[in-house]
């Protein structure tokens, strides 16, 4: 029996970029073991964490993600031997850049989840979902994507009139 489903005012969208060999298999294990985890997470499968370009994370935020998870094999377990080591450096630096630009890093989670760690997958996803839920929607990048850019402000009556007549 499923436990009573709790309803919330805000359901965050979580995008998970995962590697096919470890975390995807881990999530699969959680599923086949009938473990419950928030359906807020949308899983995108990649060959390796080394294939996950930081620009994917930007794109996810622009297109409405409230939180992003990047997850792959534990160090030493990479199917391609070193992909996750490269990813580890890249994301360590990318986090610092986002922080400097003014992004709250609590919306971005990195984890190692192996194919045997269905339970850890549930834990990681639940933690991130609840944390992001408490933070509320991520608006920064979404607003940018919605906004039009003007070469100048419409700050005189003449401009306003010209604008209205378009």
């Amino acid at each position: 029996m499923h436990p009573e489903k709790q309803t919330h005012a805000f359901e965050p969208k979580i995008i998970a970029f995962v590697c096919t060999w470890c975390t995807y298999a881990g999530a699969d294990l959680a599923g086949t073991s009938r473990m419950q985890y928030p359906s807020n997470v949308r899983v995108l499968k990649f060959p390796c964490t080394g294939r996950i370009d930081p620009v994917f994370i930007l794109k996810a935020f622009q297109q409405g993600a409230d939180g992003v998870l990047v997850s792959g094999c534990h160090p030493g377990d990479c199917h391609y031997i070193a992909g996750n080591f490269h990813a580890r450096r890249r994301f360590a630096v990318f986090r610092k850049l986002l922080e400097f630009i003014g992004v709250d890093l609590n919306r971005l989670q990195f984890s190692w989840v192996s194919a045997a760690e269905g339970g850890k997958w549930v834990e990681v996803v639940t933690d991130l979902t609840e944390r992001v839920r408490a933070m509320g929607p991520m608006t920064e990048f979404k607003e940018l994507a919605m906004e039009e850019q003007w070469s100048g402000a419409i700050n005189t009556p003449e401009l306003q009139e010209a604008y209205n007549s378009i």
Binding site: D53, P54, V55, F56, L58, K59, Q62, P75, G76, A82, F85, H86, R88, R89, R90, F91, A92, V93, F94, R95, K96, L97, L98, E99, F100, I101, G102, V103, D104, Q109, F110, S111, W112, V124, E140, F141, E143, L144, A145, E147, E148, Q149
Partner: protein, 305 residues
């Protein structure tokens, strides 16, 4: 504002002219990339000479701001890439050349390096005929650790006098780091919103030599190309990320930006983080691998669950 001593630049100019004339007439190089006087009073522009008689056109002054390394990359087709090329380099430019050699874009044996002992050059918003002072000096020169290039084929025998200056970028980075994320976001949005996507910053950077930039692709389009807020922010994040661990700190991107966006501030921040995380710094050393193309099994992973 105290003046900075640039009296050695006259002797450096003479030495560069003599050396360029000699290597061209002896046939050691096919061309020399250097600086020549431009039309506006006191200004300088890049020049490529292949005739020994033109060597007397070469100069070095505080207005020689350009990083000439960019002309040797495959993105610039103007320079004949046949035979050995001579090039005039300041310390910061030499770091860029070292980086390019590390990325297998250039070979040391194809270059004849004329290093310049440099006390500093003028800031990008200063008129070229202005005297070099602690107020008019380029921000990058306040943090320079490479006044005297080493490992070159020829360096004029001069020693620049370089006073300790307030490190402009370090101060600004510290100021921004002390703000809240929301304040930093507001600051950068104000800066990025000015961007007109002219890509002058990309054009001038020696490390932006990709034949197809990710930011120009449209299938799939990862970064919006129009100068709208989302695309501007993404462009600046992607640019800073792609240059992390490679940028030589020549500040050319910031100099050429017509909208005065502090691009090098992002570069310096990344450099600072790479120094702290992986003890990497741009230098004259030619490295096989940059900090983001290598790893160790001891790398920090405290941020990974």
């Amino acid at each position: 504002m105290t003046p900075i001593d640039t009296s050695i630049y006259a002797a450096i100019t003479d030495a560069i002219q003599t050396e360029a004339g000699r290597i061209l007439s002896e046939g050691q190089v096919t061309a020399v990339v250097g600086y020549a006087a431009a039309r506006r009073k006191g200004s300088a522009q890049p020049i490529v000479i292949s005739n020994p008689d033109d060597a007397q056109k070469l100069i070095f002054t505080a207005a020689c701001v350009n990083n000439l390394a960019v002309y040797l990359t495959k993105a610039k087709k103007e320079i004949p890439k046949t035979g050995k090329i001579g090039i005039v380099v300041k310390g910061c430019d030499l770091k860029a050349l070292s980086g390019l050699m590390g990325e297998s874009q250039l070979k040391r044996e194809d270059l004849y390096l004329i290093g310049v002992p440099c006390a500093g050059v003028l800031g990008s918003t200063v008129q070229p005929a202005t005297e070099l002072t602690t107020g008019t000096i380029a921000a990058k020169c306040t943090e320079c650790d490479a006044h005297l290039p080493t490992g070159c084929d020829f360096v004029p025998n001069q020693t620049p006098i370089t006073p300790e200056l307030e490190q402009k970028y370090a101060v600004e980075i510290a100021r921004l780091e002390a703000l809240t994320p929301a304040e930093r976001w507001a600051y950068w949005q104000e800066q990025f919103s000015k961007c007109i996507k002219c890509y002058a910053c990309r054009q001038v950077c020696p490390f932006c030599f990709c034949e197809q930039c990710l930011c120009d692709r449209n299938k799939p389009q990862m970064v919006e190309t129009t100068p709208r807020p989302a695309g501007n922010t993404a462009w600046h994040i992607v640019r800073a990320m792609h240059l992390a661990g490679r940028c030589a700190g020549c500040a050319e991107c910031e100099r050429v930006c017509p909208m005065d966006i502090p691009l090098n501030l992002l570069n310096r921040k990344m450099a600072k983080e790479l120094k702290e995380l992986y003890d990497h710094e741009a230098s004259f050393e030619v490295l096989d691998k940059g900090p983001l193309t290598m790893f160790t099994d001891k790398d920090d992973q405290s941020f990974i669950k």
